[in-house]
Amino acid sequence: MVLAVLVAATINVAATTTDLRELVAVVGGDRVRVESLTDPSQGHHPRELLPRQLTLLASADLLVRVGLDNEPWLARALRTVKTRARDLDGSKAVALLGTETPRLRSDERPHIHAFGSPNYWLDPEDAHPLTAKILESLADLAPADRPLFEANRARFLTALDARMARWLDQLRPYRGTRVVVGHDAWPYFARRFGLTITATVEEKPGIPPSAKYLGTLIERMRQTGVRVIIADPESPMPLLQRIAGATGARVARLVPSVGADPAATDYLTLFEVNVTRLLTALGP
């Protein structure tokens, strides 16, 4: 009987990414059961809906998603299952980058994410508004647990802020450094840590760049002495290695999401790993 009451009292949360899952977990603690609907090693756009995803959605009390156009599969999933879950769109909690008027753009530059750059969790400061929103949603579902959620959040943010100060200190000598990225996934991270992204190797993910674009990129990198290329697991590594070989740059393989690399086990280690790898590439 007691066990049944406890199980019933647990808040089921479905997060669309492992990063949001981690943020829900740190606020909700043992009062929530949260799972990610996607596996970061498979990319954020699953090939096919899985039964597990539908089960999670059907039983969720709260759905936490990145929003914008980051989860094109989610609409399909929500049409398939009936869910009572409240909807928390993380993109409404943060200040977005790259949001300028998508429909009327007349230039020919690719604009993959038409409503703004979705990788906002890669700015550790965005954890503040995101966890605030999560706290409000969880507290609405379990008002009696609000003090517990607030304490959990405060503890997490204290740890995050302490590390944030250290990361900023470590990367301070490299503020303003120009870098090239494999994919357009790092604007928030770059802005927070003072890096300037000068170009993207694969402007449209999965479509190789042309020889002309690559030639210009290599020439510019040589001309301006750009010495770091930021790659992620979805980057075309042979191509990045070739560019690195031609320009003398180093490839820093960063991790875009918790779990996308075995070393990035939670939200804090995600940044530990990224800052360490970036320092190695930027260093002498």
Binding site: L104, S106, D107, I207, S210, A211, G215, Q223, V226, P233
Partner: protein, 443 residues
Amino acid sequence: MLELLWLPFLACLVLAGIHAYLGLHVLARGVIFVDLALAQVAALGMTTALLVGYAPQSDAAYYYALAFTVCGAGLFALTRRHEPAAAEGVPQEAIIGIVYAVAAALTVLVLDRVAQGGEQIKQLLVGSILSVTADEVARVAGLYAGIGVVHWLCRRPLLAISLGHPVAHTRAWDFLFYLTFGLVVTSSVRIAGVLLVFSYLIVPAVLAASLTRSIGRRLGIGWSAGFAVSVVGLAGSYVWDLPTGATIVATFGALAVLATFGLAGIRLIARLRAQGVQTLHGAVVGAGLLVALAGGALAVLPKADHFWLTAIEEVIPPVETAFLSPYERAVFADSQAAIARGTSEARRLQALQTDVQWGLRDLPEEERERLRQFLLSRSEIVAGDRMVLRTLRSKARERQRYVLGMPLVLAGLAVAGAGLRLRRRPRRAATRDVTPSAPRAVV
């Protein structure tokens, strides 16, 4: 340009060399999609290597892929039927299709259990000819030279089997063929991707087979086609700023279309000489119906996209502007001029913005923000002008629908009717048989 393209060019030459030859066998055997199936089997092998714990780029992953390909080769050798009754049984293309589908599905299932590597497998199938290294080119060139020597030594039985002639130890020779073929496909797909490998294999072989019967000449034509397409495709990719692999495949497609039209044209001229103009009746009827259909579509759906009419209007603007009022014409001209001005200015400022981003020019932070805002607003203004043009074009279409659409329907039907009458005209006395005989291979 040369620095970036000479290695891909060498890789293309190596691919053309071996694939144009193997394509002749594949075509003769009628197993067109065997390379797609073997490439998928290789991808399954590589995925399994990831599951076991090897890195996608490691030698171990390559050997896994190779081992799976050998199994696939064995399966294809075993399932090939040589007896005359084979035609009544299960065609080998069906087996190839099943192997492809099952291997692809198993790859998805295995990838679902692999922590990393899904993207690499995807890239393996898509390929990236632009990132090929000198070491990779040297390795595949050496491997293919060795396979070429083996095929030269065994050319008689291998060719005889491909052409359907009886040979002793057929299964063993078949296995040797599929084994070497699998080796080539596994290695080629790794550097060039499935689409490019398929194109190098099939298009030159099909082109050569439609031009000559001699195996030697077919090989020469296949190599020449592969060389020409490599040069044109790589140059086109550079000049038009397009992804290299896809451009080469598209060039192969263009070559196939050109060759088809060229051969059809030659046959048509021969028939015209022999049978007179009534041989064109089919083409005349077809063209007439097409014109009638285009006119009908314009009359019924004026707001739909009529690309043929847009193309004509690009060349002869009065076809469009004649349907606008004087005021609309003035707005149309203003918008066109504004788009040209705005685009050119935006391009200039974008170049400045890129230079600033790269640090080649300095601009205070405030100026940078102003530049960004200015570019955005300029971009919106150009988009607005384009919308004005679209609105005016839509108005013109409404007026064109009957004035152009209905006469086109009538003219098209008249042309089609003329074509039908051409058919009924008595044929010129012609006894010469000009139907080209299907080329047959000579061993």
